[in-house]
Symmetry: C3
Amino acid sequence: MSTSSVYHFTFLSQANNVDLNSAHLTAADMGLPEDVNIECRLQTLRGGKQQGSKLITLTVGDKTLRIVPTRAMAVLDVVRNGQRFGWDSPVKEVVHPHFINAEASGGLGWLDGFNEMLVRCGYQWAGHPGKDQGERLSLHGRIQNTPASEVSLEVEQQPPYRVTLKGRVDEKRFKSTNYEVFTELAMTPDEPYVHVTDTLSNLSNYDNSYQAIYHNNFGTPILEQGASLQIAARQVSPFNEYAQQGLAEWNQMPAPTVDFDEMVFNVFPLPDEDGQCHALLKNANGDAGVEVSWAIETLPVLTIWKNTDTLEQGYVVGIEPGTSFAYNRTHQWDLGLVPTIAGKESKQFKLRFGLFTEAEEVQASEELIDKIQITPTLVSNSPLVKL
Amino acid sequence: MSTSSVYHFTFLSQANNVDLNSAHLTAADMGLPEDVNIECRLQTLRGGKQQGSKLITLTVGDKTLRIVPTRAMAVLDVVRNGQRFGWDSPVKEVVHPHFINAEASGGLGWLDGFNEMLVRCGYQWAGHPGKDQGERLSLHGRIQNTPASEVSLEVEQQPPYRVTLKGRVDEKRFKSTNYEVFTELAMTPDEPYVHVTDTLSNLSNYDNSYQAIYHNNFGTPILEQGASLQIAARQVSPFNEYAQQGLAEWNQMPAPTVDFDEMVFNVFPLPDEDGQCHALLKNANGDAGVEVSWAIETLPVLTIWKNTDTLEQGYVVGIEPGTSFAYNRTHQWDLGLVPTIAGKESKQFKLRFGLFTEAEEVQASEELIDKIQITPTLVSNSPLVKL
Amino acid sequence: MSTSSVYHFTFLSQANNVDLNSAHLTAADMGLPEDVNIECRLQTLRGGKQQGSKLITLTVGDKTLRIVPTRAMAVLDVVRNGQRFGWDSPVKEVVHPHFINAEASGGLGWLDGFNEMLVRCGYQWAGHPGKDQGERLSLHGRIQNTPASEVSLEVEQQPPYRVTLKGRVDEKRFKSTNYEVFTELAMTPDEPYVHVTDTLSNLSNYDNSYQAIYHNNFGTPILEQGASLQIAARQVSPFNEYAQQGLAEWNQMPAPTVDFDEMVFNVFPLPDEDGQCHALLKNANGDAGVEVSWAIETLPVLTIWKNTDTLEQGYVVGIEPGTSFAYNRTHQWDLGLVPTIAGKESKQFKLRFGLFTEAEEVQASEELIDKIQITPTLVSNSPLVKL
């Protein structure tokens, strides 16, 4: 039996007091054959509110990801075969958590830095701001504005040359939260997929509640008039009264629309035989799309955030698997959507992004979803929560 | 036709990831004749809450300005001919926005860094903290605690050797604010003036409200017992009941006075034929003073902040042109002082500081103001707002 | 008369724009004889929320202290003869104030960085969060999340080779607080003591209220089942109803205990002839302990924070001399525990830590305390405040 050899590189380590301001790793540096297209850069951003933010640009085959260690290992965007997966927020800078005051304007400060493709919400709480159990919760929790404590790269030196970018992000408060999150982004040069594996560990010996929403956001060019969502789902319902008006077209995407603002839909997804759920956003032609897949075990519900307002305002659709919907936590206890993590327990969240740039890839995804959807999705007109 | 040539230098650029920690530009570096007294330094401040603050010291002829890019291009102070224009706040450090929590103590955190001569308040809101339209507004808005994203210097290489320090400061929040502010400080070696031209651009395609107050502050040596204000004005009224007591002497300055605290007066200014308003603060002898001039078009009202308390407490007078008075925004809708900036529109704010160190300069300013003031200022005893 | 010569070294100076990222000073560098065991290092920490925190490691004889200039000169821990004085908080990082939002979750953000042996609470206010006089006070005030402005080392070059680490920390807000705190940690190679001398200066010419609590925290190995407190005290009472249940064993320490949470006891201490109070925490064997001594003049009361919960939760006892108890300030006016500092006045807080690693040291401390305690401590069952 031969041992596989793995290239390791550390960008940041709180434990070892390592913190690189820039780095450039080529395939040769990683001990890979010359024809393997893998490369990684780290840079430190400057100016405005992005002063001090770190950005990792990781190329693996035809995919180039931009990852933000200082924002909990968020994925800013991905380009595959020249097509970008991500969106255009009015917030252009990669805002450093230093400049986020989550409590601002009644708990909306999180919005000052919101512009990534993959944004983590959680883990002590997620969802809309407001009071729950006497505590004022700010929008979508604290994790996204927490810099990683450890960041490293691992590259397998044999085919399929799996590349894994690892991070550790802590969410801690004395007597309240003692969480560590190990994040992993993994991919190979050959596959159109990015695999996310996050492990939430409760280091306390007490049980605690938690919430997680993976706020995955996609705009142009996939999002356009005629783009559509396909999701294997048991039930869809509007988040609130405003979304009721758009329920019939909940999965059909309009062009950028003045005064559309946002409609949110709550989805109970259906898993495949392996417990994986799948949601596809494809463009009008059906020759490009993004498939979000996730393990239903720990992410039982899905929020669709249809924010098809003007381009300037942020024309974007969110495909957001979660432990919970986007309501304030106070509304989710009765829905059974505030899970418990036991003392010393870990929970794993697994997602996969299919970055499709060809019609065949999109069709294969559609067929996969069709196969799961044996009975039609129940479209309910009643919001789950009376706001 | 000959093209004028201009020297350009970039201190900070988010777009190009440029961020200098120090710089020293001499007239020779700028391609100027040796006898032109123009010089510019950049330094990074250290220690306490000023850790990481940037400070630009710009000399143009007999004027030396200190500008703070990390605090929205604020002007810390100006010295002309050895006389300082600025004030002595109990806050001595050039506090980095990292250390400001605007929400602290009910929205007063802004006061932790307040010590400059030219402080911008705005632009989504300005004025006192409190609730308006369901939102808790912190004191004087967010712009002052926002670091510039772009900072550059331009120097014309021909007489009159105009020097322009440019900055861009963004104020953004997803779904709420999409503002960019281009700031310009311009001056020549020969003139006693500093020209401010700020351009607020609403990058959204939606109309939005905005407010701006230019919180210009002056202490000793101009401010002293017997110093006085002269302002071409239609009407003056006290801000509140406390200021009513000092209405008769609203423009006469006492020595530093224990328990004076602050009296605020609301002024409706009168413009000259070119739409420029002028306010002069002169010393007791009338041989030194500062003249604040501004375009009434976008800055229709003026707040006089008479904070002639003890030296330790901050002996200072504010001459503050604005879109609005210093009340919380909730009180200003009815006054018509919460203007709208249309989608894609820009608004320009123009101010000029006359830095006078001789009696002739002061007298010329007085005559200018006298000429505008054809009918006497109406001194009203009634605050505009019942607090 | 000979002048003693003193070695000076500056790590940080706001006034002189000095800010070292690392330093290593040996006895030779300090001009000391080779056999004097004095050494000092400065390092800058990296990763997560400790990005940019400074840490000074100071060895003086058999004592090694770790001090955090960026957190108001807190003492992270001390090791003497291989025995650590400090505790294990779930918060592992030396959190930079940048990442603390004191207002978070109703004023509890302070807890995000709480892990030191010596933590200063104050000085405008201390105690539990909540409203007082219309102002929302966050937990334990602002000083601990304020970086020092000046940090320097002084070493006497003659026996007993006294070493003093000095800091200055400012707490300022325009119109509210104009405090400077000069901190001193002093020790010699021969003594088992660390001397703390803090001087709070009110630079304003107005009187102001203030509060200070020295939140000194000790965990394993001294804290263990059978460890006990000995304090010369006039009276002990429970902080609240929960602490009433543990009043009988208020000074006896259990093993780490699930669901113990915290019991807090309010102590009125008895001073010795020199006005010094003493509290001893010794281990079960009585061969190791920590003695906290302090001048009653400015620190008239003592809080015992018995947080003997599980190791993971933070198994720790606080011995906390203060101007005040840990109640929100609103409850302390009537207790006479919100003192006034006059304009231009200074107040000095003096503490001494006895770091005992031998039975004789512990016994000597017990005897000292016994001698003061002529009449028994009154153990009252009534909390001073009805919450």
